[in-house]
């Protein structure tokens, strides 16, 4: 598939000597939704800032929309829309003027019909003549997205787009992102809400201390690294895990009424049948059983922790 963003050997070292990005290599395809996950200070915003032209790279090469971001910066930037993390707005301007300003700034002729569509899609049409200072936090977030979409970009960066917004608005934004994907807009999303990446992303990259430690298809990542849990609700309370199960990865819940067995869903032999046979042999009865797959959040925490502890 055609690559819309190509990052090669990118390094960023600040004046004080701090290396924010270490030899980043990344390819993002046209029309893809790519989620970049990482703890605070991992380098997510720095990477986005460099691609969008807000910060300078130390070394490396970045191509966006088929154009080098330094040599062909005009053409590269024309293709990009950015929704930054901070709610930075001109408080005294009206919604309409602010969005129209963004379109003009990106070199596009006025197109009121497009601005109207963007505002309607983001439920901002009724507020078009309102000053930005009168908008709620959620509305300001929508406005930031409207500004980023005003010049019809083919690549959209969403840097923590749903930070601090309510559930309803978050769902609306996810819906909007899906619609943009239908129009073949490439979306790069950074988020703290793993649920967001799980819900929307095609691929996931994990960045930690300035290094990309993993890039994988979401489904593959979840199946590759996902753990499954079998929970057995017991008829009678246990004081401790029976010695016959000591060799298995079995834990007992605090109240003693649940046995929790963790297994690798990818292995041929999950060990569930063996566990259940053993329970029957030693006379432990259970009322119910259920299995659960680990979430992306658990995978993410596991990955970051694994890297941190080396």
């Amino acid at each position: 598939m055609q690559s819309d963003i190509s990052v090669k050997n990118l390094n960023k070292v600040y004046e004080g000597g701090f290396q924010a990005l270490k030899n980043i290599n990344l390819e993002i395809s046209r029309g893809e939704i790519f989620a970049l996950l990482g703890p605070n200070g991992a380098g997510k915003t720095t990477l986005i800032s460099i691609i969008c032209g807000i910060a300078n790279m130390s070394t490396g090469e970045v191509v966006a929309g088929g154009y080098d971001i330094v040599k062909d910066y005009r053409k590269a930037r024309e293709t990009i829309g950015l929704v930054p993390q901070e709610l930075s707005t001109d408080s005294f301007e009206t919604v309409w003027n602010a969005v129209s300003f963004s379109r003009g700034l990106f070199g596009k002729a006025p197109k009121p019909a497009h601005i109207e569509k963007v505002l309607r899609d983001l439920s901002l049409w009724d507020k078009r003549n309102n000053r930005i200072m009168t908008l709620s936090g959620g509305m300001k977030r929508r406005l930031m997205i409207a500004k980023a979409l005003s010049h019809e970009p083919r690549i959209l960066f969403l840097d923590e787009p749903t930070a601090g917004v309510d559930v309803e608005l978050r769902r609306d934004m996810w819906e909007m992102v899906r619609k943009l994907r239908e129009d073949e807009v490439t979306i790069i999303l950074t988020t703290h809400y793993i649920e967001e990446a799980e819900e929307m992303a095609d691929r996931i990259g994990v960045i930690r201390q300035g290094e990309i430690i993993l890039v994988e298809e979401k489904s593959i990542l979840m199946s590759k690294l996902g753990k499954k849990e079998l929970r057995l609700q017991l008829q009678h309370k246990l004081e401790s895990v029976p010695s016959e199960l000591a060799a298995e990865s079995v834990e007992l819940s605090d109240d003693g009424y649940e046995l929790i067995y963790t297994f690798d869903s990818q292995q041929e032999q999950s060990g569930v049948a063996r566990l259940l046979r053993t329970l029957g042999d030693i006379g432990i009865e259970y009322r119910d059983l259920r299995t659960r797959e680990s979430s992306l959040e658990e995978i993410f925490v596991g990955l970051v922790h694994e890297q941190a502890t080396g």
Partner: protein, 253 residues
């Protein structure tokens, strides 16, 4: 050339001026009127002519220049400082606009405001003093050139400033004293020799002198030298701005 980008910045800034009409236009006009009343009508009526020009009329070019310098610096420095302060500068930095286009938008708007203000002050002065303009073309040229030059200077200050205090320091602590000592209210010839020499190191002397020449045909310094000095300052400001964008000083990390 990103024409729409330049126009967007320019219109945005002009709309800010319309929103703050009291502060942008009315306030400097009233201040200058007070100067006309106090120094022109009240004190001026008891003073003799300078270079055969009535004192109230003599101070008009200097007073216009005083407002022009202050407002050019203030307009341009606020214009670029506010996006930095509010964080909206990200949009300009990520847009497909060259630094020349950014400067055209911000400095163009700041200079336009100053020129409009200068013309309003000149029109208002008519209410208090009867004056003539001997070289209207050169008067307008110096008005525009000074507005552009000092708007560029203000742009540099706006980039350099990392707090509101710094925005005020240069106009209040440097430009105002230089303007008052630059021959706004007197001719340099009236000073003792040593102070005349020292005054020639004050760049504002050249601005006021050239502007006064356009009005009355008299000047403290040869008008060609004055024009050269203005162009030199303009070139220095352009170099400063070029360096800022080349290095990303206080704009790009």
């Amino acid at each position: 050339m990103n024409f729409y980008g330049v126009r967007a910045i320019y219109n945005f800034e002009m709309s800010r001026m319309r929103r703050t009409l009291m502060q942008s236009v009315l306030s400097p006009v009233i201040s200058t009127c007070l100067y006309f009343v106090v120094f022109g009508s009240a004190i001026g009526s008891r003073m003799g002519n300078i270079d055969n020009i009535e004192y109230a009329a003599y101070i008009i070019p200097g007073l216009v220049m005083l407002s022009l310098l202050m407002q050019s610096i203030s307009n341009a420095s606020f214009a670029i400082y506010m996006p930095k302060f509010s964080g909206t500068i990200y949009e300009v930095l990520s847009a497909p606009v060259s630094y020349v286009e950014v400067v055209l938008g911000y400095v163009g708007a700041a200079a336009t405001k100053s020129v409009i203000l200068g013309l309003i002050i000149l029109a208002t002065a008519r209410l208090f003093v009867d004056y003539s303009v001997l070289h209207p073309f050169w008067m307008l040229s110096f008005l525009i050139l000074t507005s552009v030059t000092f708007s560029m200077f203000g742009f540099i200050i706006g980039i350099w400033a990392d707090g509101f205090e710094k925005l005020q320091i240069v106009p209040m602590m440097i430009v105002t004293p230089l303007t008052f000592l630059g021959g706004t209210f007197y001719s340099i010839d009236m000073l003792p020799d040593i102070w005349q020499t020292i005054s020639l190191f004050n760049p504002v002397v050249y601005l006021i002198s050239a502007f006064r020449w356009a009005f009355y045909g008299v000047s403290d310094v040869n008008v060609g030298v004055s024009a050269g000095m203005i162009m030199l300052f303009l070139a220095a400001c352009m170099t400063g701005i070029w360096w800022i964008f080349k290095t990303g000083y206080r704009l790009r990390t």
